[in-house]
Subunit: 197 residues, 4 copies
DNA sequence: AATGAATGAGCGTTCATTCAT
DNA sequence: TATGAATGAACGCTCATTCAT
């Protein structure tokens, strides 16, 4: 009986950890953090209940880990990645990034929306994502300014609101709200408005 | 000598019932249905825990009562009230109604947004508000058509999404997102877009 | 507005008290003391919940009142009423009395059987009916002795057991166990047995 | 390093389950189902309250499990086990079986008597034990027929009533009603009566 | 005498968390 | 690392009892 190689063991550990995070994300997104039990997480992740608490110190720790380990997904949204594009191309690229995140990680977005509506978690999330959010806002504000906006602050807000609204509906009923036509319309409305100015 | 007069008794009952509903709405909106305990409701409503269950058969019954007894608040949003207005005036009036509801009943809107994000409650809420929602959607679609929209369906959706996004942010941080400037900007964007067509 | 005459008032009070006792007896007999709520009693007695506690100091007080106010019903069973009868006639009369009580007051008998099976109430009931029970036992023992029994103690017990068994079945399913044929058979078995000696 | 062996784990689970069933049976028998709290069961079974509900879905489930898992104890009473015996030997054997069950499982019998007196549980119990009861009754009826009974139905009922009556008294006060002398007397009465015919 | 709204201790049950293996 | 039996605080809810009228 040779001991499991350290590498394999670590890989298994990482896998079970990932399974727990994935299961939790799905459940938190669909049922909410409070309504999700650790039993359900264990069942969905196909691990024992005990293992959850060897990976995470508490149920809340799972939630925070989900948040922390997914912050980087927002990076292409928050940070300008290609400086060679024109402002218009940049905003197209931004919207594409956002819609892409929505399409590939609907549960993450849904969970964000949930947490944002929550008195106690909102603040925590805000703190952990503050820097990113500020970067995002300043980036969008800047883009609108470059595109000739007279009120980049409000344009920026409305832009953000629209994305939140799309997310809130798409994540709960993707079949009812097909993302591609909505995205195309988003572009049309936005450029009609911006050109007018 | 005699029992409490029927009128007084009924008034007392109605008052305590209202207190429970008010407290519950606030807590459900801010903490979520699952995270709110009946103890908290009782404390906030300044009644005993037992009284809650002499008014409502379960915690869920409180939630459903809140929904059912607030449906009529959506009426001015769902139903065209003044036929003498022009399409433009009508949409202004509609947005005013919506923003007004948001300003006067932020907790109700916040709760709706929460429930809409929830897998199990979404369906229940959907069923109870189906008729109203259909009326609202057909009304908005019609208005966009009258205003020359080439794609009233998508315009209607975007309109709805924008309102959801505004609501999601305003209800959690009214100080951060002042409703009046946002409303004005909403008008400006919308009419710029519509006129262009 | 003349005050209600004292007599009428007292009569009303007695009536509501009786209604509570009747309703309680039925419910205690069928559902058991613990499983019966004061709400149910009030509903069945068609009085308010408050009135129950103006007549009785507690739920238990209702139970004890039922017991105390029905002790006299056992008198013809416990006490020899007609000294002119022969031993055989006496035992026939006794069985008739017992079967009659069973027929007219099945709920009272059923409640007694229940309380007798209960660890805590058994003792209380025993104390309150001790004198009566002793009179009954000595009476039956005596009768068996007069009828030539060689072991009046055990005959007396078996007699009592048989009545308990009949009661336990008749009170829960009177249609299944018709009392008259059972009584006739009871007589036959008993006299066959006694004659043999 | 490794989780508790499957065998040990299953044994632990079976033991705690049995402890809960044993404690519940005792308490249900002595205090009644409604008057017994899950706290008491946990205390008596020396387990935590939570463990009860990992074994059973509800308090009622404990009750039904007790019933279902003890049905086989009635088998020697319901079913003729030795075909080589004479009718008289058979009835002696039957009574011995019954008295033996009473002596070894007084709480089970006491609980049966309680449930039989109960409006709602009677029906449930009846359904679950219907087959067995019918076998028992037809067996006893047959025996009485073979022993020359002119009315085996009523003889069978009286036999059953007598056993119920003995049970009702023995289970609550075994010291007051010594089972052996009572059994002997039961035999004497029965055979005196049967021979007479 | 009578009402029923109101109370709160305590019920059955759930669930995050621990721990022996 | 991994298990799942075990825990107990806290949950939703019930119910005997009180009290203003």
């Amino acid at each position: 009986m040779s001991p499991r190689s350290k590498k394999l063991s670590e890989q298994m550990k990482a896998e079970s950890r990932k399974a727990i995070l994935n299961a939790s994300l799905k459940l938190f997104a669909k049922k909410g953090y409070s309504a999700t039990t650790t039993d359900e997480i264990a069942r969905k992740a196909k691990v024992s209940k005990g293992l959850i608490f060897s990976h995470f110190s508490s149920k809340e720790d799972i939630l925070f880990s989900i948040i922390d380990e997914n912050v980087e997904r927002w990076l292409p949204i928050a940070i300008d990645t290609d400086e060679n594009l024109s402002p218009k191309e940049k905003i197209i690229s931004l919207i594409n990034s956002m819609m892409n995140l929505l399409k590939t990680e609907p549960d993450l977005i849904r969970l964000s929306l949930r947490l944002n509506l929550d008195e106690s978690y909102r603040k925590i999330i805000e703190k952990r994502g503050k820097e990113l959010m500020e970067k995002f806002l300043s980036r969008v504000r800047n883009l609108f300014k470059q595109l000739g906006s007279k009120n980049p602050d409000l344009d920026c807000y409305l832009f953000m609101f629209l994305f939140d609204g799309i997310s809130a509906n798409y994540t709960v009923a993707p079949d009812l709200f097909p993302i591609e036509p909505i995205k195309e319309h988003f572009f049309k409305v936005m450029f009609t408005y911006l050109k007018k100015k």
